[in-house]
């Protein structure tokens, strides 16, 4: 019998794998035949998600413990991987509580470091390895909240703005080096993070929709920046064009 050589499955590393968007993303990659490694802090949640992917797709799924605040451990985390992934997706995020962030610098620090410092530094480390190897895809899930600071969530928004700028710079720097950088701005998504919020239906995506959109944008269409629902491009264009002297009086 003739063995037909087939390429080994590609590997995707998911940072923040216990979030709803994270698990939807893992499903989309596993469905497409990729191997996946799930990384997050919540051990029980990781075990549950690994079991789900293993049962659904009959493939080995590894998991890694990762605390995005422990930036000193990033080098060890990276060296502990079986091999360098083809794609790294970060869905790490923490909405936090805006009012508490205003009063308590510790809360604000947590939000800023979780949404910006941790993911940016870790993706930055992968960017170095990818550039040296000559290929790789980095996906950062940022937020429309990073496009303009609003009273209701500007601590979170500022951190996401930083993350968006970091990804943009990384993309610019690595464009000629075979490394693809994708920024995803999901808009409203029905998840644990938004449970109980009244969200307008046409602007609100399901987690599964976001997972599929991430896979498509990163691996098929090779996009640079995507809104999951295109209508958000229009919404944010309008929000960005409002003059500041008007914007500052608005309740958003």
């Amino acid at each position: 019998m003739i063995e037909t050589p087939s390429a080994p499955p590609k590997l995707m590393l998911l940072l923040g794998a216990t979030s709803d968007i994270g698990h939807a993303t893992a499903r989309a990659y596993a469905q497409a035949g990729w191997d996946v490694i799930l990384a997050a802090r919540d051990g029980a949640g990781l075990v549950r998600n690994v079991a789900d992917l293993t049962a659904r797709h009959g493939r080995v799924v590894e998991m890694r413990s990762l605390d995005i605040m422990e930036t000193d451990g990033f080098a060890d985390f990276l060296n502990g991987l079986p091999h360098l992934p083809d794609t790294v997706v970060s869905v790490v995020g923490l909405l936090g509580d805006q009012a508490r962030s205003e009063a308590d610098p510790a809360e604000a620090t947590l939000v800023m470091r979780t949404n910006f410092e941790g993911p940016a530094l870790l993706l930055g480390l992968f960017a170095e390895r990818f550039a040296a190897r000559g290929h790789g895809t980095l996906v950062g899930v940022s937020s429309v909240a990073g496009e303009r600071g609003r009273a209701s969530n500007y601590v979170y928004g500022a951190a996401k703005a930083g993350f968006t700028a970091f990804l943009s710079g990384l993309r610019n720097r690595l464009a000629g080096k075979g490394v693809h950088v994708l920024t995803v701005k999901p808009g409203f998504v029905r998840t644990r993070m938004t449970a109980g919020m009244p969200l307008p239906k046409p602007l609100t995506a399901e987690a599964g929709e976001v997972g599929a959109a991430i896979f498509r944008a990163a691996e098929v269409a090779r996009r640079d920046v995507v809104y999951v629902r295109p209508v958000w491009g229009l919404v944010m264009l309008m929000i960005r064009t409002i003059p500041e002297r008007v914007f500052k009086r608005m309740k958003l």
Partner: protein, 446 residues
């Protein structure tokens, strides 16, 4: 406990009731919810037609329990959380050569919902209901205690078909059957009247799948004329014989057709439904007698091809009436029902099927014929259904709780009799505080 009060309805969009809807994210979240209130019931994907999955006060949305837990390819045993959709199971396992042992008429249902309604499929005469293929299940009892049980236990028998009233089903292990392809080898029998339709279903007792589409508007000599569809999972050999070179799995369908808005109330009337039925019957009769291959999706789930098809009945919603009549009384009783309906209201859907017995304490199937009819939810049709219930009651038949939105307590008592009494006794024993209650359980005094 979070969760906003909002209007919730079943798939038929009648009735609509205000309930607090709470999203459940993992199994551990269920017990505290049970302990914190009364009048709650679990809801899966909302495909029960009437008021079964609307909590009397609080409704637990279990769609977040959507993780598969384990699969053993040697035995076909699959353990899943209760909110996993049948569609996800088929998507994951049909390419690997497995198919659920029993599937209802839609794949957009959760495993928990299928157990609670003990749904049946086109193979009930041979395979029994969904519950007959469970190895075990785990549920949170009304007091929050988590308990696993399996066939042979009283709790299991009450939970299979128990409409979620014994507690919240958290996970279950089901057996998948092996199949060689994703195709169904289908043959069609054109039956000129009800007697012929029943004879064809009777003759299909050793066929895996059998179901009849009935022209609910045909009257007189043609009353009950039907197309009887028999089906078997196609083997590789069938595929080679009937469609050489076809792929083992049917190509994925195009994006589902959707009903984008509520259709005007007049769209489905005697003329349009009558014309459709005549065309459909004629086309089926022309193709009868020849074996053909049909993909699993259009064979088992034809209406899933039209997203939000419940909107074709307009904003008023619709009623599905599904009864089962003991075999000895089926012929005359079904004739009487079809006669009554053919003069009163056009039913867009009319399906006839021969059921075996068995199942859980409150499971719907008894040995006999089940007839399913659809009607817009109008005052005239509500009265018509009361008339149909009287005919069903007289014949010793019963109404399917998963479809029901309006049967009276008398009809329910007459149909379920001793089983209802035993179910109530168990409910008193495990739920003295009345923690679990749906709009349906309050309506029927369950």
């Amino acid at each position: 406990m979070s969760g906003a009060a909002q209007e919730v309805s079943g798939w038929g969009r009648y009735p609509r009731r205000t309930t607090r809807l709470v999203s459940v994210r993992d199994e551990d979240a269920v017990a505290p919810l049970h302990r914190s209130g009364t009048g709650l019931v679990a809801r899966g994907n909302g495909r029960a037609y009437g008021d079964a999955a609307i909590g009397a006060d609080t409704t637990l949305d279990l769609r977040g329990l959507d993780r598969m837990v384990a699969f053993d390819p040697g035995t076909g045993h699959l353990t899943v959380e209760a909110g996993v959709l049948l569609a996800d199971i088929i998507d994951a396992f049909l390419p690997r050569g497995f198919f659920p042992a029993v599937v209802p008429g839609t794949r957009t249902v959760t495993v928990g919902g299928m157990i609670a309604a003990d749904v049946h499929g086109k193979n009930h005469h041979g395979a029994g209901g969904f519950g007959a293929h469970l190895r075990d299940l785990t549920l949170a009892l009304p007091d929050g205690t988590v308990r696993s049980c399996g066939p042979g236990s009283e709790l299991f028998a009450a939970t299979v078909g128990g409409m979620g009233l014994t507690g919240t089903i958290l996970r279950a292990t089901l057996r998948l059957r092996r199949v060689e392809t994703g195709w169904i080898r289908r043959s069609t029998v054109a039956a000129a009247d009800l007697d012929a339709a029943m004879a064809a279903l009777e003759a299909a007792h050793d066929t895996t799948y059998a179901v009849a589409w009935i022209d609910g508007l045909a009257r007189g000599a043609a009353r009950g004329r039907a197309l009887v569809y028999r089906g078997e999972h196609a083997t590789r050999a069938d595929l080679a014989a009937l469609s050489p070179g076809a792929p083992l799995q049917p190509p994925a369908g195009r994006g589902a057709l959707a009903v984008p808005f509520d259709l005007p109330a007049l769209t489905l009337n005697r003329v349009t439904v009558g014309a459709f039925n005549a065309l459909y019957y004629g086309r089926g009769r022309a193709g009868a007698g020849r074996d053909g291959l049909v993909g699993w999706a259009p064979y088992f789930f034809p209406l899933d091809g039209i997203r939000d098809w419940n909107r074709i009945y307009g904003a008023r919603g619709f009623l599905q009436h599904q009864c089962v009549i003991p075999k000895a009384r089926s012929r005359d009783t079904l004739g009487a029902i079809l006669e009554r309906v053919s003069h009163a209201a056009p039913s867009f859907l009319a399906v006839l099927k021969l059921l075996g017995g068995g199942g859980g304490l409150l499971s719907f199937p008894i040995r006999g014929y089940t007839l399913t009819l659809d009607f817009p939810a109008t005052p005239a049709n509500l009265a018509l259904l009361d008339d149909l219930d009287a005919i069903v009651r007289d014949a010793g038949g019963r109404i399917y709780l998963a479809k029901d939105a309006r049967q009276s307590r008398d009809t329910f008592e007459a149909g379920y009799g001793d089983a209802a009494a035993r179910f109530r006794a168990l409910r008193r024993a495990i739920d003295g505080e009345g923690r679990i209650a749906s709009v349906l359980s309050r309506r029927l005094g369950l």
